[in-house]
Symmetry: C2
Subunit: 215 residues, 2 copies
């Protein structure tokens, strides 16, 4: 090899720097979602009483979103889950997000869905300290997804609603497919997985993953 070939050295250097930059850019922190519920105002008032307001326990990573102090019990045909935390603020529609294993315990079989898409979803009974609500629909298993800002999206060369693959390292390494990209000025970079997904890959909050090419 001719080590005096400046053009070649320059080319290699450029490729290496580019690869290193790519490595730096694409790392996405994981946020693990335990089962939780988003309530509409009407349901909240029935469950907790007319004069009660949702109160903040702690902020979540996505701006404006928070874990509330208030919890409910959800009850399906086969069993119930207590202490299901409400995430605030209140929404236009009540939505219950559980894992596939939660579904087996409750006796419901929710589809894997994007948040907000409640068509053809099973219902459930919600029990609060002041009342009960029987929902006809609203239970989903969340589709794996990544929240990111437009600037993150640009760096990773993806667009809102893209479906990507994500590589997870470690003894239970995996490439997860069908991961939905959501882009908004309001989003902070974070990939959401549920407890089944996190445990199956032995992944913890804030572990780093990256988008990889389709095979």
């Amino acid at each position: 090899m001719d080590f005096n070939n400046n053009e070649l050295v320059e080319k290699i250097t450029k490729i290496i720097i580019q690869k290193l930059q790519e490595e730096k850019e694409v790392l996405i922190p994981i946020g693990i979602s335990n089962r939780h519920i988003h309530l509409c105002e009407e349901d909240f008032k029935i469950l907790f009483g007319k004069d009660k307001s949702l109160s903040k326990l702690k902020d979540l990573k996505q701006p404006g979103q928070y874990a509330a102090n208030e919890c409910v019990t959800i009850k399906g045909p086969k069993g119930e889950l207590k202490k299901v935390r409400i995430l605030g603020p209140l929404r236009n529609e009540t939505q219950i997000e559980i894992s596939v294993s939660d579904g087996f315990k409750l006796g419901v079989n929710p589809p894997i869905k994007e948040s907000g898409n409640l068509k053809d979803t099973p219902g459930i009974e919600i029990i609060g300290p002041k009342g009960k609500v029987t929902k006809e629909k609203g239970v989903i298993c969340a589709l794996r997804h990544i929240h990111m800002s437009p600037s993150d999206a640009k760096k990773m060369n993806v667009c809102d609603k893209d479906i990507v693959n994500v590589e997870i390292d470690g003894i239970r390494k995996a490439i997860l497919g069908n991961v939905l990209v959501r882009v908004s000025e309001n989003f902070k970079l974070e990939m959401h997985l549920d407890m089944d997904e996190a445990n199956s890959c032995l992944i913890k909050n804030n572990d780093l993953v990256k988008i990889v090419e389709n095979r």
Copy 2:
């Protein structure tokens, strides 16, 4: 393009044949393992009494292996799990196989390990109808693995103890890495996953998966 270029034609033909052969690849049925326990004779006698024998509920897919009628409770520092099924026949050493989520409930943090390798594993209390045993070690989360015969191994071009990647299709599609291949005349073709892994990929017993190349 020069269609008289024999070398090129030969090369393309070879690639097409290779691809067609790959398509024929062997599909591997999934067997989902719920938490279970293998007992040594000494522990079995303490838990169930000197005169009791392990009795078969049903055969498992791997020849000679069976689910027993007998179950135990396992108890860790944080909680217990009842009705943990014994898999027979009795073994030389007691081994408890749980999922990562089971580990959280029990308050133990077992390593991801190949069956039979109990070095540096946490212990647990086992409770039977006639007595208790406190194990100093023996709890593992099973390493993903595939059982196969030498003839299956030949078809798939893998050897005993190879580590492969396995592709799972569907809405929660994934490529799982670090999958151990175990080859024996006594084995029937089957990939074992635990409940966390099955639920995270929305996979059921007897669903079919395949070995894919390393990226």
